[in-house]
């Protein structure tokens, strides 16, 4: 056993296995288990998984080694040979650390947050199952395993969004997430099939080898496959046009929003593209589409986020917007920067969600569970006196999100904008402009949120403010740790312009991009990442950094001064009631996208379904097939049952006659 525990092949299997075991225990026995033990099982399993993951990461992966688990034969049909094997290379190892690390903190946080819920065990079972599925997605060594996790996280997302399923909007939101994700999954599958058709394998290693061997790649097919995969990424990572489910997904418990809908699951699309970067570099058109979609999403989601009243909705749109930033980086071929932003975003966005959960939790004591007022920013104010820790940590998170210099978001977002700036062509310009506008929005709504929630005068029910209190320690600790990570994560990759060469993050991931970058450099593509920074480039980087710093700080202060004082708030209200009324309503109604989808897609499908329901279901299937076959059996059995009289003698007669006939047959044969 001890020998086994020293083998990385085995330890890697344990990483996703631990949450699975936790899920099984809580899922089967949770109902009968005490609250404390149910939470202990869930937290213990994921923390254990984190410890194993850390030991693997520190000892092997950070040294540049790749860990592979034992391989199991999963299915073998014809040319399709799928092995069940986990793979932790720098990229998946990093994500494994994020999933288990942030997952552990959120599990611990949930112990306090969900303490009052009677389906406590169910929550933890789902949460553990999610961690298992997410780890499968990240660690699987083939697209099939990734798809397994992909669907698994979708299922958990559905289950957790509709966690309080007795309230219909919640279960509707869950269904919406599931259906929209199905659209994306369909694209993902098509992309998978195309890749299999082209390469005859779905294993990353074999795909990479196949890509190396191909002399003249069929760029049409690769573009098509990548675009199909991107449809899947759009669904999972909430990009235009499939982003509509994510804001609704806020119906789930806040820890779920933090873990699934901010830190991990929604980044699956980014991970997938980064993972397959060696294929994507051959699909320039698809990358352009990715960049444009990302930029548009970042901008539009950012603008919608400006006017949301619900604290979680603000964060949800900011998540969509930040995911857009990551796709910008991917589309520009700067994969490590996208992963870097994913990394920092996981911390500060989880932190912001958990902080908002802390606020909601303390207000729900008085307002009652599920009361929308507990999430309404305009019914908060001045909470910094009541909840100092929550305020301080959320402030760090907001600075990170807004991109205030020296906070983590600054480094990663600035790197993305710089990549667009450096591109120096039409695409780069468009993307840069949209990205900068989105950054403005980001800074604005981040500090609007801080100002509204923590400063100014309390605008809600007096009793709620009186009873508002700092959350328990089990919630405070994760906030504190995440705040440290949210501040410090950015320093793992300092920009070249700082003059200090400190880039452990980029160095770690470098082998992942090797093959793709080698191709790009050979082809002298503009997508290739710069290897050396010229003097001019450094100057441009400084310019870019100054611009975005000034924008972030200026807009932040501007938003803060408006929303932290009652007078500014009054002025803003007058403005939206007067001159700015039309655009305000447009944003408040999210550009009427849901309504447009309803008219353009949902209604026609419903009409078509009704027609098919009558023709096929009612007439063909129900009347002809179902009732018809029943009628046939009924009629024939009415005749046939007369044979079965139940009188023994009749059976005997039949038996003897049969035997006699057999005798006659034998005699005739003689």
């Amino acid at each position: 056993m001890r020998e086994l525990l020293q083998k990385p092949e085995f330890l890697l299997l344990l990483v996703p296995l631990m949450p699975l075991i936790g899920f099984l225990i809580n899922g089967f026995f949770g109902r009968r288990m005490a609250l404390a033990s149910s939470g202990a099982v869930a937290c213990g399993s994921i923390v254990l998984s984190f410890v194993i993951a850390t030991s693997l990461f520190v000892s092997l992966i950070s040294q540049g080694q790749t860990v592979q688990s034992y391989s199991f034969n999963w299915m073998h049909v014809g040319a399709l040979d799928i092995h069940f094997r986990l793979l932790a290379d720098p990229l998946s190892g990093l994500l494994m650390m994020v999933v288990t690390g942030v997952g552990s903190l959120i599990h611990i946080y949930s112990v306090g947050y969900m303490g009052h819920d009677k389906a406590y065990w169910r929550f933890f079972a789902y949460l553990n199952l999610f961690c298992f599925a997410m780890l499968m997605l990240v660690l699987g060594d083939s697209l099939v395993l990734m798809f397994l996790g992909w669907e698994g996280v979708g299922l958990c997302s559905y289950l957790l969004i509709g966690f309080w399923y007795t309230h219909k909007p919640n279960s509707d939101a869950g269904k919406k997430a599931f259906v929209v994700n199905r659209v994306g999954d369909f694209g993902f599958m098509l992309g998978m099939f195309l890749l299999f058709w082209y390469f005859g394998s779905l294993n990353y290693g074999e795909l990479a080898a196949g890509m190396r061997e191909v002399v003249q790649p069929d760029s049409t097919l690769l573009n098509a496959a990548c675009l199909c995969l991107f449809v899947g990424a759009c669904g999972k990572s909430a990009q235009i046009p499939l982003y509509v489910w994510l804001p609704d997904a806020m119906a789930g418990p806040t820890p779920v929003s933090a873990l699934i809908h901010a830190a991990t699951m929604v980044t699956a699309g980014i991970y997938m593209i980064a993972r397959l970067n060696f294929i994507w570099v051959h699909a320039e058109t698809a990358l352009t589409v990715v960049a444009l979609v990302g930029a548009l999403t970042a901008f539009f989601a950012g603008t919608i986020g400006l006017v949301q009243r619900d604290i979680k909705k603000v964060l949800a749109y900011s998540t969509v917007s930040q995911l857009g930033f990551m796709f910008i980086a991917l589309g520009l071929g700067n994969f490590p920067v996208a992963i870097f932003h994913l990394f920092t975003h996981a911390f500060f966005k989880a932190l912001l969600f958990l902080g908002s959960g802390s606020v909601i939790h303390s207000l729900e004591h008085t307002l009652g569970h599920g009361n929308p007022d507990s999430q309404d920013l305009f019914k908060m104010g001045g909470l910094k006196h009541k909840m100092p820790l929550t305020f301080a940590t959320m402030f760090v998170g907001a600075c990170g999100l807004a991109g205030i210099p020296l906070f983590s978001g600054f480094f990663s977002k600035d790197a993305i904008l710089y990549a667009a700036f450096e591109r120096q062509d039409a695409l780069g310009l468009v993307v840069y402009a949209l990205g900068l506008a989105a950054a403005v929005c980001t800074a604005f709504y981040s500090f609007r949120l801080i100002g509204l929630a923590f400063f100014g005068k309390w605008r809600g029910l007096e009793a709620a403010y009186a009873h508002a209190d700092e959350s328990p320690r089990s919630m405070g600790l994760p906030l504190f740790l995440l705040a440290i990570a949210a501040f410090g994560a950015g320093y793992l990759w300092l920009p070249a312009a700082f003059g200090v060469h400190f880039t452990p993050f980029a160095d770690l991931l470098a082998p992942v991009w090797q093959q793709g970058q080698a191709f790009l450099r050979a082809a002298q593509s503009p997508l290739a990442m710069p290897v050396e920074h010229s003097h001019e480039a450094i100057v441009r980087e400084w310019v870019n950094m100054l611009v975005s710093s000034v924008v972030a700080v200026g807009v932040s202060i501007f938003a803060f001064t408006i929303y932290s004082k009652p007078a500014g708030l009054e002025r803003a209200r007058k403005l939206v009631e007067g001159a700015m009324g039309a655009p305000y309503r447009l944003l408040l109604n999210k550009y009427y996208v849901d309504e447009i989808y309803d008219i353009a897609i949902v209604r026609p499908i419903q009409l078509l379904s009704d027609v098919f329901f009558v023709i096929f279901d009612v007439i063909f299937i129900d009347l002809m097939l179902v009732n018809g076959s029943g009628l046939l059996v009924d009629l024939s059995s009415k005749v046939a049952r007369r044979v079965q009289t139940g009188v023994v003698r009749h059976y005997l007669f039949a038996f003897v006659v049969g035997a006699a006939l057999l005798l006659v047959m034998f005699l005739a044969a003689l």
Binding site: R649, F653, A660, L663, L667
Partner: protein
């Protein structure tokens, strides 16, 4: 031997006819017994002495007695059918509650019996035809040597490999059973074991069943007592 065979076969056929025609069950059983004895005689006439003895032991001894028990226990013949059949009938058995068996009211050759006779005769004709068509070599039995040599399959060390046995003797059949067909023998023992278990299971009363019967009896007793009380008042 021919005479003995003829006598035995006449007895067997007479007994069989008695079995299928007698209306009183106990007489039918007597006919069956007679037929068994006749069959034993036929076996003896065919030089199968051991089988003849087994026939008497198993059929006439064990089976007939078993039939007799069940007849006494489970006969639905009404009392007027004869004194013998109702001997030992259950105490709570109420002849009036038994539905009259329609066959009894019918003439002897009612439709099903007529059909049965017709079908049996048809089968008989077929069989006779088949036997009549047998090749001529089945026209005689041929003589049997007084003793024949058998080769033992598993002789004990030091014993001779062959032995002289008489046809139809216990020794001869024993060699057939234990030397040539041991597996069939074991399987039959298993079958009988299963049959014993099955019979026990089928006839055993479950605890719930007997309790229900007791309760029903108790209720009837109470009702009777009340009725008596009422008449007194």
């Amino acid at each position: 031997m021919e005479v003995f065979f003829l006598l035995s076969s006449m007895v067997a056929v007479a007994g069989a006819v008695l079995v299928v025609t007698q209306r009183v069950a106990i007489y039918a059983l007597l006919g069956l017994l007679v037929s068994f004895f006749g069959t034993a005689g036929i076996f003896y006439a065919l030089d199968a002495t051991f089988v003849a003895v087994s026939q008497i032991l198993v059929y006439a001894g064990a089976l007939a007695v078993l039939f007799l028990f069940v007849l006494m226990f489970a006969s639905d013949d009404p009392p007027e059918a004869g004194p013998l059949v109702t001997v030992g009938a259950r105490k709570d058995f109420d002849p009036a509650a038994v539905k009259p068996v329609e066959a009894r009211a019918r003439p002897r050759l009612s439709m099903p019996s007529f059909g049965a006779a017709l079908l049996s005769l048809a089968v008989l004709a077929l069989m006779y035809f088949a036997i009549y068509k047998l090749p001529p070599r089945f026209g005689e039995f041929g003589g049997v040597a007084p003793q024949t040599q058998v080769h033992k399959t598993n002789p004990r060390p030091g014993e001779p490999l062959t032995e002289m046995v008489e046809f139809g003797s216990a020794r001869g059949v024993g060699y057939a059973i234990f030397d040539d067909f041991p597996l069939a023998f074991e399987v039959v023992s298993l079958l009988i074991f299963a049959a014993i278990l099955g019979a026990v299971l089928l006839t055993r009363r479950s605890a719930a069943q007997s309790r229900a019967e007791q309760e029903a009896a108790a209720r009837e007793g109470e009702a009777g007592a009340e009725g008596a009380g009422g008449s007194h008042a």
